[in-house]
């Protein structure tokens, strides 16, 4: 209802007038605030603090940048980044840190643990930092100029808050990304016309996104929920039950998050905004390095631009590169949640990234990725190349899948119990997990097969895309969404 009403008003006839941009941005901002505060209006206060704080800082940074005072630009940038991190720290990490400090009075720890985690805080914090840094780097100029251009000071500030608020809160990306960088988003803020909507892309993204979420992820989730029933249950299960569940979770988390990202991309396109691709068939990867270039690409890009490169990236020698890779992934893991299991998940990914870098230290990373990818492509010749490519893919997929255990399981005891169950000689099995893996997981596998065709059989993929196959597939997908949905569940990434 909210979406339909917003869409109708967004493209109302008066949106074509002189104040079209102001109308559309203001409307989308109000709709985003209603969407965000629907369940818990208290959360809007925190968003408002983030929004106003970032607006003040952005205005100051631009003023000092125009005046050529780099020291003050750096000072305001630091302040704004610290403010964003402090909000994240208080609401996301304080309960975790308080639990680690033995000298704190129990009442303080309890009070810290009672702090609620505002939905989407990790995402809008990253948006805030992106805006501040991009403005300070001079990568956002035209929009920044509006904050120092003509008109009254209060009027400029109000417009600044509105545009910054719109960037931070735009509802398709608000709670779970994709993380759109300010330099990518701000240049798009302008009056939009309904005839410019790329309907083909919108339909494609929305149908595929809802299909991945409602048909694949939600149906798999009913079975994979049994992986979190505790160590006793896991240790008592047989490998024939546990292994399909692990594969099922691997496909579920992809379908859940890639589905959400596609829905967000489709909705944003309906309102005239282009979001970056967030998933590029990640389970085709033949190395962990490649995996992170295909999985949650907007997070990887953010970590690279605002953390890895400022830390020195690969410019300070091999040892520092390995440390940076590890550190970025460790922090990236912690970004998912203030729990050791996320830190472990990030650390292991960081470790494997560093090991891959070490193993290929004499090669250019891009060349190595192309080489491994090429092993599965048409240009590969011979059985050995094919086998080698398959081997790399097999190892990468299983490594990534196994590492999801640290992401999913509530504690280490459950992970150990899972492997005890997998290594047991029990032979009993229950039908639903295997059936679900085959029936629903096949859709995720076919989706990746389509990705492989696009990358390696481009001509054939283009031919298929032009054939009636696409509307037929979309018809089948809509049919399955309507008749075979899973029990409604929240998106996994909403909790971050």
């Amino acid at each position: 209802m909210l979406l339909a009403a917003t869409f109708a008003l967004y493209y109302a006839p008066w949106s074509r007038g002189r104040h079209g941009k102001a109308w559309q941005v203001s409307l989308a901002l109000v709709a985003s605030v209603i969407f965000y505060g629907w369940e818990d209006p208290k959360l809007i206060g925190l968003l408002a603090i983030s929004c106003v704080g970032n607006s003040i800082a952005t205005g100051r940074i631009i003023q000092h940048k125009v005046a050529g005072d780099d020291a003050l630009v750096r000072r305001w940038t630091r302040r704004a980044v610290v403010m964003n991190l402090a909000l994240l720290g208080i609401f996301k990490y304080l309960p975790f840190i308080a639990g680690l400090l033995p000298f704190l009075p129990p009442a303080w720890v309890a009070a810290a643990k009672a702090i609620p985690l505002p939905i989407g805080i990790s995402f809008y914090t990253f948006h805030g930092i992106s805006m501040i840094v991009d403005v300070a780097r001079g990568e956002v100029t035209r929009e920044g100029g509006a904050l120092v251009a003509g008109g009254s000071r209060s009027g400029r500030f109000a417009k600044g808050v509105r545009d910054i608020g719109f960037y931070l809160l735009f509802f398709p990306q608000l709670v779970a990304g994709p993380i759109v960088k300010a330099k990518e988003f701000w240049p798009q803020i302008s009056a939009k016309r309904i005839e410019d909507i790329p309907w083909k892309g919108v339909v494609r993204a929305l149908i595929t996104g809802y299909f991945l979420k409602i048909f694949v992820a939600d149906n798999l989730a009913e079975q994979t929920a049994s992986l979190t029933l505790g160590p006793a249950n896991l240790a008592g299960s047989s490998p024939l039950n546990l292994i399909p569940l692990l594969y099922g979770y691997s496909l579920q988390i992809f379908a859940d998050f890639a589905g959400y990202s596609l829905i967000a991309i489709g909705l944003a396109a309906m309102f005239g905004y282009r979001f970056p691709t967030n998933f590029n068939f990640p389970y085709l990867s033949t190395s962990i390095t490649e995996f992170w270039k295909r999985w949650h690409m907007s997070l990887s890009g953010w970590l690279r631009d605002y953390l890895y490169i400022p830390l020195g990236g690969n410019r300070k020698g091999p040892a520092r590169t390995y440390v940076n890779l590890f550190l970025v992934m460790f922090l990236g893991g912690l970004w998912h949640g203030a729990e050791w299991k996320f830190a472990l998940w990030g650390s292991l990914h960081g470790l494997f990234l560093a090991l891959e870098r070490l193993a290929s230290r004499n090669q250019d990373p891009e060349c190595r990725i192309k080489k491994t990818s090429a092993l599965l492509s048409s240009s590969s010749s011979g059985l050995w190349s094919l086998a080698s490519g398959f081997f790399h893919w097999f190892i990468t997929f299983h490594l990534v899948t196994a590492l999801w255990l640290t992401f999913l399981m509530p504690d280490m005891a459950s992970i150990v119990a899972f492997f005890k169950g997998v290594c047991s000689s029990k032979t009993g099995f229950s039908g639903p997990p295997i059936f679900s893996l085959v029936f629903y997981g096949t859709a995720a596998v076919l989706y990746h097969a389509w990705g492989w065709l696009k990358e390696h059989r481009e001509h054939f993929a283009n031919h298929l895309a032009r054939s009636p196959l696409e509307p037929v597939l979309h018809g089948v997908m809509i049919f399955l969404i309507l008749t075979n949905p899973g029990a409604p569940r929240g998106f996994i990434y909403f909790q971050f």
């Binding site: 679900s436 509307p471 008749t483 075979n484």
Partner: protein
């Protein structure tokens, strides 16, 4: 234009194929891979059309054949992982229709003692459940996955046809009235559940819906008498009680997993119920 036409044509073909498949399986699928949707599907199918007897209970009841397998006027409303109480409450609230006779599985009634709200109970009050009642194609019993899963399950548990009309569990007696109180040593939760469910059963009885509490196979492993609180529920609710599982000849009971009857045994159980009722 060509895109929209092809898409609509495909959708129409899919729904047509689903409708034909639904007819071929007698109006509803037997089971889906999802306990949740299996339960919702049975309840939706049971609530559609006129029934003489409704079977209420858990997945043990869920294995019993109904009108989809040729038992005309019988509706199976078993909730996998649940008990009969959710459906009884929904009937009491007028969400679901009632048949003149309810067969209530006693084996799993204790699950209702934990007082937790169930997903099934919430779903029955949701809009999507009502959509399924009115549009068979969107009902949970018509899920495409359920057609495949039912087919696979039938291979494992046997076909219901093999048991229909061929015999029963050879139990000499039938359901009995409980006249002696069994209210000693009941826990507060048991008392509360008895009070709630007995009131529902009495209300239904006043409106012409009778009920029988039945302990279905498998028998209690230790050969014990039925729990006192269940007998007390039957007494105060004005229901008859039948210990079918305990009294059945074990040679006719085949379990697929230690708990659920194979199709021929389930058909025999329904034949026994038919014999006892009519």
């Amino acid at each position: 234009m060509r895109y929209a036409f092809t898409l609509l044509l495909t959708l129409t073909a899919c729904f047509a194929a689903q409708t034909l498949a639904l007819r071929a399986v007698g109006g509803r699928t037997a089971k889906s891979e999802s306990n949740f949707f299996s339960s919702i599907g049975r309840i939706q199918a049971g609530a559609t059309g006129k029934s003489e007897v409704m079977l209420l209970g858990s997945s043990i009841t869920g294995r019993l054949p109904d009108r989809a397998q040729g038992y005309h006027g019988w509706a199976n409303m078993g909730c996998d992982g649940g008990s009969a109480v959710d459906v009884l409450r929904a009937m009491d609230e007028g969400i679901l229709p009632r048949a003149p006779l309810l067969v209530i599985e006693a084996n799993t009634l204790q699950l209702a003692l934990n007082q937790k709200p169930t997903e099934i109970a919430a779903a029955m009050r949701g809009p999507w459940f009502k959509v399924g009642l009115n549009a068979p194609c969107l009902a949970a019993y018509a899920r495409p996955a359920a057609f495949f899963y039912s087919k696979l399950l039938a291979r494992r548990i046997g076909g219901f046809d093999s048991g229909t009309g061929t015999g029963d569990l050879e139990v000499a007696d039938g359901p009995e009235w409980i006249t002696k109180p069994h209210d000693d040593g009941l826990t507060p939760r048991q008392k509360a559940l008895i009070q709630e469910v007995a009131a529902i059963l009495q209300k239904m009885k006043a409106k012409g819906t009778h009920s029988i509490l039945v302990w279905l196979p498998p028998a209690r492993g230790d050969g014990s008498t039925p729990p006192d609180w269940i007998l007390e529920l039957a007494r105060t609710g004005g229901s008859r009680y039948w210990d079918l599982g305990q009294k059945a000849d074990s040679k006719w009971i085949t379990l697929t997993d230690g708990v659920h009857m194979a199709a021929p045994s389930a058909a025999r159980a329904v034949n026994s119920l038919l014999k006892a009722i009519y």
